[in-house]
Amino acid sequence: MSTLGNPEPADAVLIAAAVGGDTAAFETLYRRHTGRVHGLCLRLTQSRAEAQDCTQETFIRAWRQLATFRGQSSLSTWLHRIALNEVLGRKRRASTEDRHLAVVRLEARDSHRGPATIDELERAIGTLPDRAREVFVLQKVYGYTHEETADLLNIAVGTCKAQVHRASRLLAEALGDTEL
């Protein structure tokens, strides 16, 4: 594939090549989208190892299913959907983890002096209950609408709104947000 004058081939071009079996094209797609996929996996699993596994599985599934991608959403959204299915599937299979929410929340508040740092913010988001965190991350970090989030998670829009409200309240509490 010639890249002369077009160093960044569009996703659609790379997808067509990958569907034809071109793994180099798929590698380019991987390198273009892995940060966004891994970012979501890391925030939802709260585990580096799990996030890497989920990221890897996401791209392997994407390779298998690429011929069925019809471009009705962006590739990025499609990959997020696969990643979400992978993360949520693993959660269903795994036993529920006790996150000691109250303790962590208290520690976060006690250590808070002034505006929350990025690390504190990420940690506080990590302490949110699963569903609230999923909704909050998709909407507030990745910019999906209520409707898009509800569709991605296969939940009602009303549930989505309630969960993001809950997440915001918990986050404000955890960080001792002054305008609470």
Binding site: E27, H38, L42, Q56, I118, D177
Partner: protein, 184 residues
């Protein structure tokens, strides 16, 4: 400003909005992914290419399969085996098309009918899935017959795996629908 925005201070809401969307993995995951892709080599296009190369070199299967993917429909293609060598290319090609069409049909069933079925819709969706399951099972048996005559054919092995995985997926969908309906 929405209600949940009002809960967070403007400063905190702004900080959340500025969190990085991309977080690169600590190591390069591509070598592991590439190894899996090479080992499994399960893309539809790769399977079709193998069939075109090894089994039916005079046929261009992909446009026909792609057309079926555009407008999914469960179409059972009758397979007639004969003792002459030509049977093999025809049978394997038609089996490939049928399996792919059934996979596409599965997607149609799950997206159009089974995502939010209620009452009678559940029964209809389950019946549709069971009908598809029977078709896929039939095609798998044909592929197994072909394998008995050409046990080393990698394309047929890959097709068999596809058919078997599709059977499992269909059975899982039917089971999930019944569980959901019965409130399990």
């Amino acid at each position: 400003m929405t209600n949940d925005d009002a809960i967070l201070s403007a400063e905190l809401a702004s900080r959340v909005g500025r969190l990085p969307r991309e977080i690169e993995p600590p190591g390069d995951l591509w070598p592991g992914i590439a190894a899996r892709l090479t080992r499994e080599d399960t893309s539809l296009a790769t399977l079709v290419q193998r069939l075109e190369r090894d089994v039916a070199p005079d046929r261009d299967l992909w446009p026909r399969i792609e057309a079926r993917l555009e407008r999914p429909a469960g179409i059972a293609v009758p397979l007639r085996l004969s003792p002459v060598p030509a049977w093999f290319a025809t049978a394997a090609s038609l089996a490939a098309i049928t399996v792919v069409a059934l996979i596409a049909s599965l997607m149609f069933v799950t997206t159009e009918r089974a995502l939010a079925p209620e009452g009678d819709d559940v029964a209809q969706a389950v019946d549709a899935i069971r009908a598809e399951l029977a078709k896929v099972q039939g095609e798998r048996l044909v592929i197994e017959e072909s394998l008995q005559r050409d046990a080393d054919n990698l394309s047929l092995h890959a097709l068999w795996r596809y058919a078997y995985q599709t059977e499992l997926d269909l059975a899982g969908k039917a089971e999930g629908l019944v569980d959901d309906y019965e409130g399990v």
